[in-house]
């Protein structure tokens, strides 16, 4: 098979990004855009699955990697795994948007175009081999999501959230770019491979000189931009506002897709490129992880808007994932990859329910979840599974990935830096703390009586997606946890060598 065919999933998205505006000119039918977006994403998803299992030298099960487009693109297990997650998230969001927006909601053609281009940006980030492609991918995805957050022009909250997201996002991406330019100034190369060999040379004293301060400062700058994407503590202020203000399908994309993209970029930069100089950034990442999980969980307790509560919980989850990065061992990193993926499912699933409840006219406060079980058993069950999975209660998928993450990091701490053990202990304590506010929602759903009428129609899309979420988080992943672990192991090897 010609290896440039492997670019087909992305090319499909590009074609569709151009096709939807053409559809807008040709027809005035709002349904056609959503059908076009759904079909493209489903086809792209099927292609990615096909390439994953294709019995050829490019099969990603056997951990080979292929370079395409003048080696600006690298396709390996790690990148393909996350592309599948991104496309799946976008497909969910696209299906959900079809039922969430009214039939006559204006600007739907723009909305679906932006959704596809945001997904395209995420996929570029997953296979980038140099900082320029990485930065371009991040920006394509970010610009599209700025516009998507502010896309309801008549809604005051949506516009305010968009303005905040844009200003903070543009500031932090300028900081990242400055960090990248400092690294270019130091190493004279912009590819990950070139920088890695420079840093390894520095470590083995092949390259002479003391560049500790420059490396420290540029890693701080880069961390400021990527930390904004994954919403960790000093850079988290936008997350609650945007998650609350944006239309809920967009929030789903940000919480599940955009966050995973941030982690992909972070892993590529810190675990591959700057691995040899880990002494410079280890401690700062540890401090950020600790602050992020503690502040996220403490702030989530007092929230009374479900979007804000889930935003703070997602800040805390980013803190858990980040403890594996200073650990730097294969086991810890594969735990982090597993938790990033499972987090996309749990958070995405929870926000789908939020969108369904909101679209049914029940509102977005915590009180609107009172008596949800009496209204729809399935939605309440799905929300419960997602929330318990976020805490890490045993039978669910969140437990497995969190266990892998904490266990791998603990092993690294026992054999290396002892302060990493403190991070693991803080993570376990924080999980216990987070039980409080998740259980509050579950108590509201099952133990309280519904205010108002019991017969509320939830849309079919929400019901199907929540059924699939339950199936995935409570049955499939817990049963096949070993293959999940093996895939993450393969991805780690692909990432770190």
């Amino acid at each position: 098979m010609d290896s440039s065919l492997l670019f087909l999933p992305e090319l499909l998205l590009v074609a569709s990004i151009m096709a939807i505006p053409a559809l807008y000119i040709a027809t005035e039918n709002n349904k056609s855009y959503s059908i076009c977006a759904n079909m493209t994403l489903a086809l792209s998803f099927l292609l990615l699955i096909l390439f994953w299992f294709y019995p050829d030298e490019v099969s990603f099960e056997k951990n080979s990697s292929v370079y395409i487009i003048y080696s600006h693109f690298k396709l390996d297990t790690f990148s393909q795994l996350f592309k599948i997650i991104f496309v799946l998230t976008a497909l969910t969001v696209s299906v959900l948007s079809g039922s969430y927006f009214e039939e006559d909601e204006p600007h739907q053609a723009e909305y679906y175009t932006l959704l596809l281009s945001s997904t395209l940006g995420m996929m570029l980030v997953a296979s980038a081999t140099d900082f320029l492609t990485l930065f371009l991918g991040i920006e394509i995805s970010a610009f599209s999501s700025y516009a998507m957050v502010a896309f309801r022009k008549q809604d005051d909250k949506s516009t305010e959230a968009g303005a905040k997201y844009f200003l903070i996002g543009a500031f932090s991406s300028a900081l990242t770019l400055y960090g990248i330019s400092l690294l270019y100034a130091l190493t004279g190369s912009i590819t990950f491979e070139g920088m890695r060999s420079f840093f390894t040379g520095l470590n083995n004293e092949v390259v002479s000189g003391n560049f500790d301060e420059v490396i420290f400062i540029s890693s701080l700058f880069i961390l400021a931009g990527l930390g904004f994407k994954i919403a960790v503590v000093p850079f988290h202020a936008w997350a609650p506002d945007v998650y609350q203000g944006a239309p809920t399908p967009v929030t789903t994309l940000l919480a599940a897709g955009s966050k995973a993209m941030g982690f992909v970029a972070l892993f590529r930069v810190f675990l591959f490129t700057m691995e040899a100089v880990s002494d410079e950034w280890k401690l700062i990442l540890g401090i950020i992880a600790l602050a992020s999980m503690t502040i996220g969980n403490l702030a989530a307790i007092t929230q009374d808007d479900i979007g804000r509560m889930l935003a703070y919980s997602s800040i805390a989850q980013a803190g858990y994932i980040l403890i594996a990065v200073p650990a730097l061992t294969d086991d810890a990193v594969s735990g982090a990859i597993a938790h990033t993926m499972v987090h996309a499912f749990m958070k995405g699933g929870a926000f789908v329910i939020v969108a369904g409840v909101g679209a049914a006219g029940l509102g977005y406060s915590l009180d609107s979840y009172k008596g949800l079980a009496a209204r729809s058993q399935l939605l309440a069950l799905s929300m419960t599974v997602c929330l318990l999975s976020l805490v890490g209660i045993p039978p669910f998928a969140g437990f497995i990935s969190k266990f892998l993450l904490f266990y791998g990091t603990l092993q690294a701490g026992l054999s290396g830096d002892t302060w990493i053990i403190a991070l693991v202990i803080a993570g376990v304590l924080n999980s216990a703390l987070s039980l409080y506010y998740y259980l509050k929602v579950i108590r509201f759903m099952y133990l309280y009586d519904a205010v108002g009428s019991k017969d509320i129609e939830f849309s079919n899309a929400v019901r199907y997606i929540s059924f699939l979420t339950v199936l995935f988080l409570a049955i499939i992943l817990p049963l096949f946890w070993q293959s999940l672990f093996e895939i993450c192991k393969e991805a780690t090897v692909a990432l770190m060598t």
Partner: protein, 100 residues
């Protein structure tokens, strides 16, 4: 003779000016302009070290960054315009409907 260090000093001064502008200003348009100054600071590093290493990658990067900056302004002004239509102001202190 101009050493590479002079370029780094110059670009970091520009960077600080830009960051100061973002933090201090209350007008969203001025914040947008300050962000452009920060991107220019990164561009100066790229161009300077591109000629220092005799490597064209840095200059290509600058072309891409300039494009990104233009797109950023376009998106930003569109969002700020729709904010202005609703509130008749783009003072950043007044963005306080969403808060805990």
């Amino acid at each position: 003779m101009i050493d590479p260090i002079h370029f780094v000093v110059f670009s970091s001064i520009l960077m600080l000016i830009g960051a100061y502008g973002v933090i201090r200003n209350k007008n969203a348009i001025v914040v947008l302009m300050s962000i452009e100054i920060m991107l220019t600071a990164a561009n100066i590093n790229f161009v300077a070290f591109s000629s220092y290493y005799h490597d064209l990658t840095g200059q290509v990067a600058v072309l891409f960054v300039t494009t990104i900056a233009a797109a950023e302004v376009a998106i930003g002004l569109a969002i700020l315009l729709s904010l202005f239509k609703q509130r008749d102001t783009i003072e950043l202190d007044l963005l306080n409907t969403l808060r805990w």
